[in-house]
Symmetry: C2
Subunit: 140 residues, 2 copies
């Protein structure tokens, strides 16, 4: 149960997680990482917990959470009882947002695909369905 591990410099942490040093300091300013202990020189000193937390942040970001949402997730994950329920809710909200975005993009894709299909790729601009669609009144 040793959570107080090695004393890593910010550069070592950055390298292990694969993130820029500036990004770590930025996350600290933004409250996504706790203020680390300092060596006598003022250098930040990190343990393994920070590595895990940075990876958490990166994965959440990959799932499309904003830094604001991630800050909230981190706070919730520390709540030993009510946290889980709230975390699930946030994940469901994120899921719904992603599904809505997919639907929007599919609509856009279908419209564009139809235009591309119907365009011969040559001829006068005023006969190009793509340009016509952009220029004329919307149909739908």
């Amino acid at each position: 149960m040793n959570t107080q591990t090695a004393s890593l410099t910010i550069g070592a942490v950055a390298k292990r997680v694969g993130v820029a040093i500036d990004t770590i300091r930025y996350y600290e300013r933004e409250g996504l990482l706790p203020e680390p202990v300092r060596r006598a020189s003022g250098y930040r000193s990190y343990g393994e917990g920070t590595i895990a937390q940075l990876r958490f942040i990166r994965r959440a970001k990959d799932l499309g959470f904003t830094l604001d949402e991630i800050r909230e997730l981190l706070a919730l994950s520390a709540d030993r009882q009510r946290g889980v329920k709230a975390v699930k809710q946030r994940a469901q909200q994120r899921l719904a947002a992603i599904e809505q975005r997919i639907t929007e993009l599919q609509r856009v894709r279908d419209g564009l695909a139809q235009l591309v299909e119907s365009c011969p790729g040559h001829g006068k601009p005023e006969e190009c369905p793509i340009l016509r669609a952009l220029t004329d009144e919307a149909v739908s």
Copy 2:
């Protein structure tokens, strides 16, 4: 064949297209709209062509084109022969980018959906699959 129509103020154009005055001036600075003629007072004076061009821009934006790409589309649409081919190419590129984005989002959605499903919504944080997935090493 009358393209030289009414003399609209920037405010009238903005209202008809449903865009902010500042946005019109911004598009002009960015080269998406030609510099309009001016009245003696210095006021910009627009014709119907500008209305059409602004709507073109708005629709292209809705299709996910960036302003850079739209500037290019506008230039291409003026090329009476080679324009159409290039426009179709750009549309195909945009289509491919949208499809790739949809695929990415679907992957994210599937991962997140699985996590949400497997989370009971209560209990200890360390048993919550969502938090575990964010904290632990990636599986895939």
